[in-house]
Amino acid sequence: MRNTTMNRMKRSVAGVLVGLLLATTSAQASVSSEEHAAVASLLRDRGQHAVSTSLPHRQQSEDAEISRLLGQPLTSESAVRLALLNHRGVRAALVSLGVPRGQLTQDSLPPNPEVEVSVRVPHGSEQPLQAEIGVDYEVSALILLPLRRSAAQSALFSARQRVASEILDIAYRARLAFYEAAARLEQLTLRRQALKVAEAAYAVRQELSRVGNVVVLDLEQERVAMESARLGVAEAALVAQEARERLCAALGLVGTQTAWSIAPQALIAPKEPDVQDAEQRVIEASLEMAELRSQAMAAEQRARLYRTSGVLPHLGVGFHGEHDGASWELGGHLSLSLPLFNQGQGRVALARAESSSLRERVLVVEAALRARVRTVQARLALHLSRARILREGLLPARERALKEMQLQYNGMQVSVFQLLESQRQLFDAQAVYLDALRESQAARAALDVLLAGHSVDLGSGSAGFRSSVSSSGGAAH
């Protein structure tokens, strides 16, 4: 009887151990793909199919795709795809999910039994060998396991939402950096054109000076204008270089990868958004709010755990066997900690406070998000309007003015310098238009990412946009 019982117990313990080992092993192997799928699902739920399908999987195929994308002039879409495939922040974010996932695994494991074996050898040879064996198991930990697991599960949900938000942020920043680089590179080209205008004006003055038709003052003023234009090119080149480097960083490009180019006229006006009830949609999609709610839920579950563990601090059961040399004596025991003083009140209060605070933060975030949506919509409307005015009004007017200036020049009513100045003003207007396109695309991207659930940082916004761009000192002619 005793042997049968021991055998059953041995088999049972071995089975639990093997089961736990298998469970642990399979959990370690599935973290990456499971979390990858979970995050992709979160993104798909927010309409971010392109982002979800661009998440990195296997290194080899990604390298080929990255090379293919870099082999062509970049567009905003290819830049975003590149960032998702190549930016280490995406991988770091995904891998970071292993932490809460590991915690969940850990918190899902039942406690191990404690086995104690002792052998006693009495003095004198006539006394038989005495052996004792005892097994203890902390039942309270097993009872609390579902509560602990729920809290860890909520923490994992929260982390997934944070990671999805981080990935959206990386995609958004890649898009912003692309627009910035596209605008600055085109503006640099315009600055160079403006410099050519200034150089032409100076060359004409030089020629007139050579034959004694202008005073030195005129020549020097033209030189001032030319040097100012040259300075403008240098400044624009730095701005373009910085924008280029920001895009490199946003795409995670290094080494030979940084020799990319941008598709010509990559910067176009975004479509007018057709968004109904944008505030509500943003609130519903917000990953930040969902993350806070998950954290609050986790805190509440911890509070329940602490409350339960407070009234049941320790419950253990045990089995004890003793062999006196002739027979076994078997028995069991129960150990119980009495929560007379410490019922975990502090930890419960801490977790509850944490939960309450997080619930309040959800409301704070909601109010901020609503304001952000309105800001972005206003900003988008303004910049779309600016771009439209420039495209349909100012630029055609500048072109017509240049054409009329040419006619007036032909009629000897204006000078070659006024004609060149008109050309320079056209370049300036084109530069301003590029700014308007960049700003409107940035605002559109911000609105889109808000609707996707990421709480984008808007920065100083329109307060800093320039109403005009000057490429030269603007010497009076």
Partner: protein
């Protein structure tokens, strides 16, 4: 002027001239000479001579004094009512052609600018009704005439202004013969800059001196009309760019047709805003016989070829046209014979045009440097210019482009006027036109062309 052929070179100049005629002739104001209200039916925007001038003058005053001829203009019809000569002037907006290709929305009288010349005789009692069809009040001042104070037309001083839509009556007796003018004296800066002026001729009862065969009236004026615009700029004070005889700029000026040996009188008036005009005549010399103050004694006259017509004054010259030909008559202020000349431009004379083109054309493909060899021949370049403009454009003559515009006209002195319509050019006797020198004659005269002369 660099005469390189330009890609856009076409028949712009010629086409504009031809097209402008039709444009002007469709004008709503142009009726018969001496017609209703004295509208300038004789206007010949292409510079041909009006029928009225070809038909000759009629006697309008004692001792066979002939009617005046107002080239490009008309004479106000007067009716006699109970011993008073009655006329009607309507101040009104007019669409005016300075020359083919250059129109403007001006103000004038009876459909034109200048208004019809008023022609009467010393001692006549005149009653002129002035109707105001302008958007603002106006008055009428009889410049140089001595009239009752209440008829002098200074708004606020001599009379109340004539409101838009109202008609005021002026009545006075012409006490002195002479050459006078009329113009508004309410907001005269604007109204005169817009074209409101006219000549007023009072023939003497008892003329002195030789009878003239032709009696021309020319009002000089200056305007600011930016190329491409359609309204004169009354705010301009100095930089006028359209200079006119009877509100016409050459080649829109009607030539003065004269038969050889005729005694001719030309009455000049100047109601320009700011500039006197030294009118120079080619092929003739003359004497100044009258000012708006009266007749100059014969003893005080002397022969001249240029008469200075000050602002606000009239000058009358007389001469006998003895030398046939097409003779220029123009203001000798050189900018006054350049239509819509741009001022304040850099001088390009002497510059290397190709060098400039190489710098600018990559940026502006239609660009071409101009003026590096001078500014003649602008019209021949045919470059596209703003619509409704004649910048630096002149006319066409028998030997090519006449690169003068503005206050420039022609005296066509002919042996025989039959069949003459002003379009034809003088046929020079053989050997009487300057031509390219031939080597033999140069050698005979001891001219060494290749020798560089030195000063002193």
């Amino acid at each position: 002027m660099d005469r390189r052929t330009f890609i856009q070179l076409g028949a712009v100049t010629g086409g504009t001239l031809l097209g402008g005629t039709a444009l002007a002739q469709q004008g709503h104001q142009h009726h018969g000479h001496h017609g209703h209200g004295g509208q300038p039916a004789s206007a010949t925007p292409d510079g041909t001579i009006a029928r009225s001038q070809l038909a000759g003058a009629r006697v309008v005053a004692p001792s066979g004094q002939l009617s005046v001829i107002t080239p490009n203009g008309s004479t106000l019809p007067l009716r006699r009512v109970a011993g008073v000569k009655v006329g009607h002037l309507t101040a009104m907006p007019v669409r005016h052609t300075f020359a083919p290709g250059l129109e403007a929305e001006c103000w004038g009288y009876n459909g034109g600018t200048p208004g019809p010349s008023i022609e009467a005789v010393e001692g006549d009692r005149l009653r002129i009704s002035v109707t105001n069809r302008l958007p603002e009040p106006t008055t009428m001042h009889w410049h140089g005439l001595i009239v009752p104070n209440g008829m002098d037309g200074v708004s606020g001083l001599n009379q109340a202004p004539i409101p838009p839509g109202e008609t005021f009556v002026y009545e006075f007796t012409l006490s002195r013969p002479g050459t006078y003018m009329y113009h508004p004296h309410y907001d005269e800066m604007t109204q005169m800059a817009m074209g409101m002026m006219g000549m007023f001729i009072v023939h003497p009862k008892r003329p002195r001196g030789p009878r003239v065969d032709r009696d021309f009236v020319l009002m000089t004026h200056e305007w600011k009309l930016r190329p491409g615009s359609r309204k004169p700029d009354p705010n301009e004070m100095n930089d006028f760019n359209v200079l006119t005889f009877n509100s016409r700029a050459f080649p829109g000026t009607e030539p003065l047709l004269i038969k050889k040996g005729e005694r001719v009188r030309i009455r000049f008036g100047n109601l320009s805003a700011n500039d006197h005009h030294p009118i120079h005549m080619h092929g003739l010399c003359f004497e100044v016989t009258q000012t708006d103050g009266g007749t100059i004694p014969e003893s005080a006259r002397y022969p001249e070829t240029t008469v200075l017509v000050p602002v606000g004054s009239t000058r009358v010259i007389e001469f006998t046209a003895d030398e046939p030909g097409d003779w220029a008559m123009h203001c000798h202020m050189t900018h006054h014979v350049m239509t819509q000349m741009g001022h304040g431009l850099p001088v390009l004379i002497g510059a290397n045009g190709s060098r400039i083109d190489r710098q600018v054309q990559p940026l502006l493909s239609s660009f071409m440097a101009m003026g590096q060899t001078g500014m003649g021949g602008m019209a021949e370049m045919g470059m596209p210019v703003p619509e409704n403009s004649l910048p630096m454009r002149g006319g066409r003559g028998p030997f090519g482009s006449i690169d003068m515009g503005g206050m420039f006209t022609l005296l066509k002195v002919r042996e025989d006027l039959s069949g003459e319509d002003g379009r034809g050019w003088y046929r020079h006797p053989r050997g009487s036109v300057a031509m390219r020198a031939d080597t033999e004659s140069l050698r005979r005269d001891g001219i060494e062309v290749d020798a560089i002369p030195t000063a002193g």
